[in-house]
Symmetry: C2
Subunit: 586 residues, 2 copies
């Protein structure tokens, strides 16, 4: 069966598709408690990150709770009964609703259900004196893929409106057993396969550091929400950068685990059944402690006993203690200053320099990473994603809404109030040239792409292992540090680059994100032009002007080996500590 | 591009394709040292398992060496210098060449190279007093997929004659570093996707217990060779039963590890790039000690540092000690007497009864396994294997030789001397009815098969976990015991069943094989007919007559969870010990 084409689809759209979406959006608005509606700041105010402190909705205690970014501290206070789960959940819920009004980051809102759950947990603690699990009382936000019984999962598709789940996905089952309070679900782009966040049902999510900018995607709802401290910990997913791009644009910690380390069973997804390069789930949070606590809590529940695809690999304390990395005493990091495909903007370069200096000051070795076959790896991955010629997306849109092919502002009603950028969007990103005109490949053709992928993975592994010759530690490079995106948050429609992130998805390398600094026009002068690698590199170069991005977070990616979740978390802690010491010293 | 059809292929065959194959076969014959040629027994002698003892080629010491089936004992004697590697390698090489003359089990023969390697190892031990690794001096046979530098890998395809490798595959690299002596390569069926062993280049491999029977496949060369004690340990592969079927038909121990636990990188394969249900490699041997030693030796070399697909999961002593299974003190096994698709022959039933009694006598609990959605799982797997409509096979045969579509005797010159069975071969095995007319599926259609597979795996896992309600141990069933095939070795062309084995490939369940007994016409009376599940079940029923199979080995499969290699090995040891105690008690 040939896939339907966008034009054949348009002809079959119901006349009221926009009304149907608008109605669902209205019911979302109706689910917000009226007393939590705030007065919006003037339209020209683009940075709204401080509005929760200013708007008056949150009490002093609620501000204290929501600004306790260290997840371990929150959990300690919950366990000791210093703060009840109802208090904590209420505080984050109010702040999440503020974030929603400013950035449009949420999908499902279910205040009563969450508070009732929080109360049950408080009662349990009062009655028994014990917590029910390692996440007792903690509100957790979930990307709009993690199915919860009794709620819709719309995942950015008009056709999915009204599909109410009759059971929880495995992740939600486990979070509940750990004592967590799932309290909101967060926005995604239609198809999930964009690095920004916009769909016809819930509209576009904005970056709280600059509403004219994208928070990234596809876990962009989580990005904006957690940056606003509207959630202490969110769960997103990543198939080409969808955890790391919003973490980069919103200044968060995250972990992209290897394929099948954490349980995806029962969650919804795009490209269902595509197993060549697997989507993975991971935490997004303001503290590295949150990353560790979440990952360990899930693994300690033996997820392989509920999700047959999950690796039987318990949390390893010895891997966390970096046994295979000399105990972490003297690590060797390699910085990927430039992947040879697109050159990072000046703030990213400065963040890498800061990190290098901090790590050297802490006694670690820092080398330059030599990129290896990036463009081939990227092309292979993107061709795999397009192997069905778009059939999956088109089938989900068919008879319901148009397929959104670009994240540029397109005049849809939900974009009415979004600030527009004056810079023209890149017409044909490099990825389209690389992949060529999409067509529906055969199973055998897909197998040929797998062969190519396998050979590229082997080649990259050998390249990495060969660094043992130049580290001086007796080991290959322990981790690579690189940008996740060549730029910080950009105006809506301008994020076309997943060159730095997709590397890890294609090679299944464990990777994390850590925030480093903010764009500073005084320090981040534009570079003079270099010899451009390609037209997209040139476009990205032209996008940068120091005074356009002030205050945007700058975060970096740490890349370890496949199945090195524990080691990557520990190395990220080491980097964060080094940065914190370096900051204290200046 | 539509796949070529068999008829279009036939037209393009070169006129001399049979001569080309015959020439390669002759060069194999020429590589056998003349002094190792034995006088063949009379054609009517079908059981040749004792010929190595009778033919006079082996000295008393060589008989002692080759009949030392316990791999640990062999390694101890090699390490202590009691036997040199040259002695051991010579002994097994001579016996392998005897096996070759009787069963046609080999492909590549390279006596000088192997003996030179053995001598280097002996010199190292003499010089340094230390072994170079855990497999020091041990000859190891390899299925004709494991690429060795300087040798051809023909893998049953005429087109591959003359393709000489310029490097070793990762497995061979690691075996060499462990001190092993790769010494022969073994025969496979064309395409690898048959449960018997025949191709146009090297011909058909016969079962040493009955030359009119198949040793199984696709690792049938290993099966026949190891059964003849022509190799202390061989390495085969398994995508639908290819380690377990020959181990069943030849009475061997084996391990089918989970996907990507052991390194396949650099080995050749059929359906290259097919990643939905992965082929895996494992040992085939006459002792369970060989299974453990091989698996641990490979894992201790950190294969994930050379093969990017391999799980970073070191050998776990605590998993081997059955920590997750109550320390192994009281295990709960469940016996799958009948999978509801094809009913096992009487000898298999007796072997299961023997195992049940032995385990109960050893203090373990034994329940009946309730089969769960077998036929759906089997159909899904077989449909995936056929997703390219045969394109892969046809492309390898195109312009070189006909595609072999059945393992029945077909009049090819290499079959000239093979004993024929008088029973007609099943015309249309159940698998063909299930899969339907093969056609080349699209990538999206393959993704739909993956969705179905994922749901079946989840359903089966839940089914297994639910057994906790009836084990009495507080745990779900620890392992399932089942036939690997519904029958013991059968006449050539009659092995069409992989219903019991493919379950584990589709669900990625770790499984092992252990020999139990031999067919005994006194004990294994034919059953009266049951209500047949399908036409293949009926055919299999009719195939059995007690006096047709005397002396054929009867082996069973032990099935554990995904990534439970260590636990499955330990549980197999426990079962083997229980059987051995039970045998001693009678």
């Amino acid at each position: 069966m040939p896939p339907p084409t966008p034009s054949s689809l348009a002809a079959t759209l119901p006349r009221d598709w926009q009304e149907k979406c608008a109605k669902r959006k209205q019911s979302q608005l109706d689910s917000i408690p009226k007393e939590w509606i705030i007065e919006l700041p003037p339209k020209e105010r683009l940075n709204v990150i401080d509005i929760p402190r200013e708007c008056g909705l949150l009490s002093a205690l609620e501000l204290e709770i929501t600004e306790t970014t260290d997840v371990q501290t929150l959990l300690d206070k919950l366990r000791l009964g210093e703060w009840s789960s109802v208090q904590v959940t209420t505080a984050f819920y109010k702040r999440a609703i503020i974030a929603q009004q400013l950035t449009n980051c949420l999908t499902e809102i279910f205040v009563e259900r969450a508070l009732s759950r929080a109360k049950d947990l408080d009662d349990h603690l009062a009655r028994t004196g014990t917590v029910i699990g390692p996440l007792h009382g903690l509100p957790i936000s979930l990307k709009d893929q993690f199915v919860m019984k009794g709620l819709e999962t719309i995942m950015g598709y008009a056709k999915w409106i009204g599909r109410v789940a009759d059971s929880d996905c495995v992740l939600v089952e486990i979070l509940n057993e750990c004592g967590a309070v799932p309290f909101v679900r967060t926005n995604v782009p239609q198809t999930l396969m964009h690095g920004e966040t916009h769909n016809h049902v819930f509209g576009r999510t904005l970056n709280p550091y600059n509403l004219a900018f994208t928070p990234g995607g596809s876990s962009g709802g989580e990005g904006a929400l957690v940056a606003m401290k509207g959630s202490p910990l969110g769960v997103g997913t990543d198939i080409g950068g969808s955890l790391r791009i919003p973490s980069a644009f919103c200044g968060l910690y995250t972990l992209r685990p290897s394929y099948a380390r954490l349980p995806y069973a029962g969650a919804m997804n795009a490209l269902e059944g595509q197993e060549s390069i697997n989507s993975v789930l991971g935490p997004m949070t303001n503290s590295i402690s949150g990353v560790k606590i979440f990952t360990k809590a899930i693994l300690d529940k033996q997820p392989w006993r509920r999700d047959p695809l999950v690796l039987r690999k318990p949390w390893s304390e010895s891997e966390y203690q970096l046994e295979a990395h000399g105990g972490g005493k003297q690590l060797c990091f390699a910085i990927m200053w430039d992947n040879g495909v697109v050159k990072p903007h000046p703030p990213l370069h400065r963040a890498m320099q800061m990190t290098k200096r901090a790590l050297e000051a802490a006694g670690h070795v820092v080398l330059d990473w030599e990129p290896h076959r990036h463009l081939e790896i990227y092309k292979n991955a993107e061709t795999i994603f397009a192997a069905d010629g778009g059939h999956d997306y088109l089938a989900e849109c068919e008879g319901a809404e148009p397929l959104i092919q670009s994240m540029a502002l397109l005049g849809h009603p939900t974009d009415a109030d979004v600030h527009e950028s004056t810079i023209p969007v890149l017409e044909e990103p490099l990825v389209r040239k690389l992949v060529g005109k999409p067509y529906h490949r055969s199973a055998w053709e897909l197998w040929q792409l797998h062969k190519e992928k396998r050979d590229l993975r082997k080649s990259h592994l050998d390249h990495w292992e060969a660094t043992v010759a130049r580290t001086g530690t007796g080991r290959p490079v322990d981790a690579i540090i690189s940008p996740a995106v060549a730029y910080t948050a950009v105006p809506h429609g301008h994020n076309t680059d997943s060159f730095y992130t997709t590397l890890c998805n294609a090679l299944d390398l464990t990777s994390s994100m850590f925030p480093v600094t903010f764009v500073d026009p005084q320090l981040d002068d534009a570079n003079s032009p270099h010899e451009f690698y390609n037209h997209e590199d040139e476009h990205i170069y032209q996008l940068y002007e120091a005074d356009k991005f002030p205050g945007c977070p700058v975060a970096l990616q740490l890349i370890g080996g496949t199945h090195e979740e524990e080691a990557v978390i520990r190395m990220t802690e080491i980097v964060a500590e080094a940065l914190s010491l370096a900051a204290a010293a200046t």
